[in-house]
């Protein structure tokens, strides 16, 4: 089977400082990959670079997504091609209602694919269905995007958006940070429900905890801008037991 995404020797810098120093990663549809690593290892940079944030300069390497050169595409086209980033810090957008925002997003994606705009009735039915998945109530759906949402509500809103847009590849950037155990379960349940043989997930996390609920097929350890170790879910447990210091010691000189 072909890879959904192939990352080859990816180097990226911000303000002249190199953060990613040669990332290699291959993901197939149906897989869940966890990327773990200590603070400052480049986890969030990787997700931002893949999503298309301008602040980062790719200095070397390539990323093929769905048979296309991802790095050549604008952020919105990456999304339209089926890439989704669940933000670590979702942005508050006062004055833009969650529901109108989602409708615009959905319709721009449909337009890109040559489809008619979604009928109002179908859209509302879809909202209702997906809302349930993350237990997001109407009150939040109708409010301005993320404005005044609690940390947990923001993260659930990210998963709700993901459910609405049905991406091929979703990157969850520390979705577990700032979540209590109940919210964590809701988020994980949402992801598990959406998971199928045609899509894939990259779960970026600092802790093993989330991986009890979203069970990864592969675990990669990112340190100092490189994937220094890959394995199966047992690697996460090992890491949890030994802590990051071991990794740091082992790969300090890398």
């Amino acid at each position: 089977m072909e890879n959904l995404i192939t990352i080859k020797n990816l180097h990226a810098s911000v303000d002249g400082k190199e953060i990613l120093k040669g990332i290699n990663l291959e993901i197939k549809a149906g897989e869940v990959h966890a990327i773990m690593g200590p603070n400052g290892s480049g986890k969030s940079t990787l997700s931002s670079v893949l999503a298309g944030k301008d602040d980062y300069e790719v200095t070397e390497g390539e990323v093929m997504f769905n048979g296309q050169n991802l790095l050549d595409m604008e952020a919105e086209d990456r999304a339209r091609e089926g890439l989704f980033l669940a933000f670590q810090y979702p942005v508050e957008i006062p004055g833009v209602s969650n529901i109108n925002f989602l409708k615009t997003a959905l319709n721009e994606i449909r337009e890109y694919k040559g489809l008619e705009p979604i009928a109002a009735k179908d859209f509302l039915a879809l909202v209702k269905e997906k809302q349930k998945l993350v237990e997001l109530d109407n009150r939040l759906t109708n409010r301005s995007v993320n404005e005044g949402f609690s940390g947990g509500e923001k993260k659930r809103n990210e998963i709700f958006q993901m459910a609405m847009l049905e991406p091929k590849l979703a990157i969850l950037d520390e979705t577990d940070s700032g979540l209590d155990i109940d919210a964590l379960k809701i988020v994980a349940n949402g992801v598990n429900t959406l998971k199928n043989k045609n899509n894939a997930f990259i779960v970026i996390t600092h802790y093993q905890r989330l991986l009890d609920y979203i069970v990864p097929d592969f675990v990669h350890i990112l340190y100092n801008g490189k994937i220094v170790k890959s394995g199966t879910k047992e690697l996460a447990l090992e890491l949890e037991a030994k802590g990051y210091d071991e990794i740091k010691k082992q790969f300090e000189t890398v």
Partner: protein, 425 residues
């Protein structure tokens, strides 16, 4: 400098006085005072603190060298697209109240008279709020005022329909129009008044607008001002408002067009428990200049004022917000808030903001905040990652920025029209 100043002023006076009718409805003492003040002070240039970013002397020198005062008329058909379905329309044509173009349906308790038709008691009210010795444009307007109107809402009348005033000017040449009105809400009355300037013809039009508004005890005036002139429109718009005890003055000013637009919005809270809300949104583009000056004068205790001004400046345009709040010594327990938020949409655009609070009372709650920045790149990126393109993302963010002010407008038809125009930002 002095010689240069009076040059412009003298030229203006010369070019308009030959065609102007004698102002019969303002007493001679006031007229003389106005003319003297105007001649002494001159049209303000950028050395004048209040006109620092709005050099009107230069505007006249550059754009109005050949004022010809050749006015044209308009028909009802010309005005139809501007009228609202559910409002009474009043029309002022080239500075003069036009009974012919105005709606005949006059609401109960609403009295409208051209200045020249007023009795002596009515005439005395004219120029009683706007001090001719406080600003050159007030003086200019007073000395050469068009035959505007006095609108009076009788006491206890609650108007069920808004009054929409169209100030229409039309010319093929350069003209200066001194449009003026006096709006009086008597005790316990309520009205919604929409004011809009429209220009026709190929000529450049300078409108020197002056409105005196008086809100008596327990009255409520909701005022909407919609400015959307073409690049041939230049204006100074002065609103001089007096608010009495237990009354509310609620204004929203939306400026989407005009080459040079200067608004002087001055509100005096004269009676206890009175409230003023001043909201504004402007969008400047190309080489436009949009300058909002507001003044809220808290003269007595227990009053409240709340101000929210938002602006966009694109291309090489300039936006200005200057908000003054006076809290006089007696005005204890004042609540006064002011906020100005702006977005620069190009590297060549400029926004100048200046909050000015002068507080002489010691038991008050006052705050102000101002911010000017670029469009929120993080928010735009967030929209992009959901498949929303750069251009529509930008539109969504700007619309939401404007919405906070535009939502204050409770006349749905007007709000819809403004939103349609704002779409083109």
């Amino acid at each position: 400098m002095i010689a240069e100043k009076s040059n412009t002023t003298q030229q203006i006076i010369n070019s308009i006085s030959s065609s102007a009718n004698k102002v019969s409805f303002i007493n001679d003492t006031t007229l003389t005072k106005a003319l003297l003040y105007l001649e002494n002070k001159g049209i303000p240039n950028n050395k004048h603190e209040e006109y620092k970013y709005c050099n009107m002397d230069a505007v006249f020198k550059r754009e109005f060298k050949n004022i010809a005062q050749k006015f044209e008329t308009v028909t009802n058909a010309n005005l139809k697209p501007y009228k609202l379905d559910d409002a009474v329309t009043l029309v002022v044509l080239n500075g003069n109240y036009s009974e012919e173009l105005s709606d005949k349906i006059i609401l109960k308790g609403v009295h409208i008279n051209s200045f020249s038709n007023l009795d002596d008691k009515g005439k005395k009210l004219i120029a009683s709020i706007a001090d001719v010795e406080s600003d050159a444009f007030i003086a200019l307007n007073t000395a050469f005022s068009g035959n505007g109107f006095h609108l009076r809402i009788e006491k206890n009348e609650i108007l069920q329909m808004p009054i929409h005033i169209l100030y229409v000017s039309s010319s093929q040449s350069e003209i200066l129009v001194n449009t003026r009105n006096l709006i009086e809400l008597q005790e316990n009355s309520e009205a919604t008044i929409i004011e809009q300037q429209i220009i026709f013809g190929e000529g450049k039009i300078f409108t020197n607008f002056l409105s005196e508004k008086f809100v008596a005890e327990n009255a409520k005036l909701t005022s909407y001002i919609f400015q959307n002139e073409s690049e041939k429109g230049f204006s100074v718009n002065t609103n001089q408002v007096k608010v009495e005890r237990n009354s509310i003055y609620d204004n929203t000013t939306v400026t989407l067009g005009g080459q040079v637009v200067r608004n002087n919005h001055n509100v005096a809270l004269l009676g206890e428990n009175s409230i003023a809300h001043l909201n504004g949104f402007f969008s400047a583009k190309q080489n436009q200049l949009i300058d909002n000056h507001t003044l809220v004068d808290h003269q007595v205790p227990n009053c409240e004022s709340n101000e929210l001004y938002k602006g966009l400046a694109n291309d090489k345009s300039v936006g200005v917000f200057n908000g003054k709040i006076y809290v006089r010594k007696d005005a204890q327990k004042t609540n006064a808030y002011q906020s100005s938020k702006n977005i620069l949409l190009s590297d060549d655009a400029t926004i100048n903001t200046k909050p000015q609070l002068e507080i002489y009372a010691n038991d008050v709650k006052c705050s102000h905040g101002t911010s000017t920045g670029k469009i929120d790149e993080n928010a735009l990126f967030y929209l992009n990652t959901r498949g929303i393109g750069k251009e529509s993302g930008r539109k969504i963010l700007l619309a939401s920025f404007a919405q906070e002010v535009i939502d204050k407008i409770e006349v749905e038809e007007l709000k819809r029209r403004i939103l349609e125009k704002a779409e083109m930002i």
